[in-house]
Subunit: 511 residues, 2 copies
């Protein structure tokens, strides 16, 4: 129980300011201590499934428990089950940044705990979001049409998946409004084979027919970006077949290999064909606040919508996915609700933005606070240096990989993701087994965590630099761990083959 | 800037544990001070649209700013634009509780900042969620089939809107898988006219045809709950017309008036007709942890899915909407994705739950921490007392209203929501103008905030008790403010009518 809370005759006080102060300070110390010792934990949790079931009671307590007991349980029971995304040795997936400014922003968001679905329910929540997304749009040098001064503007979604879904729904309802909803079976969407799985999920949700989901094959020749000719041809074929091309989901910084679709060329094609053009820059968008990387967004002027995740690589604690649209009316037409119990003069007079109509859920947190604090407390120049430093570290890692002839670099390192693999021996299943064994072996050490993908049928190791605490020494140490495990794996691999060979020979001899 | 962060030659350190400690303590004090002085602020923000645009620069700074300057800006520029959901005088919509335990839980969630989409990405995040939702299911005395030990279990969604959407999608895809997706136009959904607007929005998203959305009319005779006979008849008519009834969204504690659908009767009908039966108890579910209110959930044994928002009235900071399903495979079949870059042994071997397949977004926060902390630090008995106290205060408010003959109570007060209205004079537009004037006048005082609805074509005032800080004195004071404003409004109303009459007489005399 929260001490002093429940004297014999005192009423239950779940929000006493002095208790909040007392316990809040303790929790801040607990979290600061966590960051102080974060390198001590295995990066990937080493627990087995259902480990926690045996450690916790199977029902909530009737009577309050002590705060210290809960903290002790977090240390002893929860932390061992945590995969430490904030560890400097976390190189998996893409980063999920935490920072002091982001953390403080989350704290004040949760402290105020307002539910800002309509402007009136907390004007500051809506207005700060509008302003801060304009700030970020300007840092990204997005076209003016994405700013709030026109018909468009930005909004914070939970994730890039939700961003894709809401714009897909907006596009779907816009075209069905014109041609009739019975034509749902005729609508065709396009993306490359490198698009995030969220797009397929969004299509399923929106009811797009599976066979109308055109997956454009990519390969090394176009850097795993969409080939505009193939895209154009696919549209042409679909129109010939009486279908209706209406949506392209392109990516700047794909999940597998950080590849980039050629926005200018494909954007022109979407314009010619009156299609909705979405650009998903969930990961790599952050890099585009640096002038030297901004060219990857050239062509975004053709886009109807653009998304990047400040919660990935821009120091804003999860969740904060920034979505901009050129014309918000399509979103609002598709997603607005106006029940009596939410009506108010400001909304009725259409004087204000109600973000409930730009998203799936009704309720929403005051998430702009954390993004605002990140931008103000760090400033644009530090954020750019932060990005550049990670890209520099990724380049260092690439050099380390190249200096070991047992490995190869698979894709160009455009941002902070290095795609590489352990070269297969002749008789191996093209390195699938070898590389997956290496990945498991390294991650089992707990010293670092990284992940894999498959590109062009090859099993690839992904080393994504981007945690706030990562320094050069972590990259160098991690590479050593990978090298050492590679040596061990190779030996085991040869050994097991030799064993297998002699076993076979034995069997043949015994026959 | 965060002090000490950026010495001349020091690298940028966005996650230094000692700085986190220093600034974290300052933020805790800031928030504790906010709660100490929360009664001083107007409950409903009194700012005008676009007030913040003039107060903030139009671009992010290049160089870092001081933490104290940001705190000062929160005080001077943000707080005036906040509608104070945590004020003891907030009686609008339904409550959105904050508590110390919930706040601490949010803090540790944001401190660890893990993205627990798959089990492997932080086993503790998934496992604690499974366990704590079992705890809460037991407090609610839900049927065993909703527990994780069988084919079902609980999951935390952001909002009840998302909960409705995911189960609607699961139900849609389940039936279309059987009868073919070309039958989308034949699918019929049902709810009462009191259902939350989120249901209509979910239907739009899922592509359910608007004319197949049966809105069952309710009235005072059934306490604004669904009339089972009307429901049965509607199904019958739809089947006669060759349509396919497949989904019922029922409510325990509707948004307008906290009315309750008769779950047993309508549940039996859904069972007979092999329909998906969803129970939305977003608000009133919390009350059902008290044995004396649990009977409102009788019939939930017929349900396929059940939802309640711990972030409304159960002291868990937003967002924390708890959804249970009896059979998770329908959700997973509809919402799963399995891209290579997320593959891992644990998931492949189907040993674990991956909550990404139970929700719309991919990423997810470690939200179970806060619910766990609320249940442990307060204990079930305190939570029940907390609910009972609010219901007692609502009953007190009802008595106060009844004691003033100028007002009437419109619906029975089942939980902590009181629906009432200022009785119209004879020549009034049935009280619409009078009551909306009264609402605006009261909310403009800033002394309390409450909202309205329309039921049976009448404009109704809603007084929803449920903020964590609300005590008897706040309810009594608020009632006085309402009475005083009612007196003023009546006088103005009579005066304006007298003026109008004399104006008319003047005009007639002048003709």
């Amino acid at each position: 129980m929260l001490n002093g809370n429940m004297g014999e005759n005192e009423p239950f006080k779940p929000m006493d300011s002095e208790q909040l102060r007392e316990y809040g300070h303790k929790m801040v110390d607990f979290i600061a201590d966590y960051y102080k010792s974060i390198e001590k934990f295995p990066v990937l949790s080493q627990v087995q499934p259902y480990y926690l079931k045996d450690l916790l009671p199977d029902a909530a307590p009737d009577q309050p428990e002590k705060f210290q007991d809960v903290l002790d349980d977090i240390t002893k029971k929860i932390i061992p089950g945590v995969t430490h995304w904030q560890s400097p040795n976390f190189f998996g997936y893409y980063p999920g940044n935490s920072s002091i400014a982001g953390f403080l922003g989350e704290m004040i968001c949760s402290g105020l705990n307002v539910i800002g679905f309509s402007w009136i329910t907390s004007p500051a929540s809506t207005e700060l979001e509008v302003i801060v997304l304009d700030w970020l749009a300007k840092l990204l040098n997005l076209p003016d049409q994405f700013l709030s001064s026109g018909h468009g503007g930005g909004v914070i979604q939970g994730t890039a998946s939700e961003a894709i879904l809401v714009v897909l729904l907006a596009a779907r309802d816009k075209i069905l409004g014109r041609i009739g909803r019975n034509s749902l079976d005729k609508l065709v969407v396009y993306s490359s084979d490198q698009v995030h799985a969220a797009f397929k999920k969004a299509c399923q949700i929106a009811g797009i027919y599976t066979e109308n989901f055109r997956v454009l094959k990519t390969d090394a020749s176009s850097g795993y970006g969409i080939d505009p000719k193939k895209f154009d041809q696919a549209i042409h074929d679909d129109m010939e077949a009486g279908l209706i091309p209406f949506f392209l989901c392109s990516t700047v910084g794909t999940t597998s290999s950080a590849s980039v679709d050629p926005l200018v060329e494909i954007g022109q094609i979407t314009e010619e064909n009156d299609m909705w053009f979405h650009v998903d820059a969930a990961y790599a968008g952050s890099a585009c606040i640096c002038p030297e990387y901004r060219h990857y967004l050239d062509g975004v002027e053709y886009a109807d919508s653009f998304c990047m995740n400040a919660h990935k690589w821009l120091l804003t604690n999860f969740d904060c996915s920034a979505l901009w649209v050129k014309d918000s009316s399509a979103l609002v037409n598709s997603l607005s609700t106006n029940p009596e119990f939410l009506k108010n003069k400001m909304s009725e007079q259409k004087k204000v933005v109600d973000f409930k109509d730009w998203q799936i859920p009704l309720g929403r947190r005051f998430r702009s606070l954390k993004l605002w604090m990140v931008l103000r407390l760090y400033g644009a120049e530090n954020l750019r240096e932060y990005i550049r430093n990670h890209i520099k570290l990724a380049n260092l890692f690439e050099q380390l990989v190249r200096s070991d002839s047992r490995f190869e670099i698979v894709c160009p390192t455009l941002f902070s993701l290095v795609c590489f693999r352990f070269l297969p021996s002749n008789d191996d299943n093209d390195g699938y087994e070898l590389n997956s064994m290496l990945l498991d072996a390294v991650n089992s050490t707990g010293q670092l965590f990284f992940t894999h993908t498959i590109i062009s049928d090859k099993y690839i190791l992904r080393f994504a630099v981007g945690a706030a605490l990562t320094e050069e020494r972590h990259v160098r140490e991690s590479w050593k761990v990978i090298q050492n495990q590679a040596t061990i794996i190779s030996r085991q691999h040869i050994l097991s083959k030799t064993n297998m060979k002699s076993k076979c020979e034995g069997m043949i001899a015994n026959e």
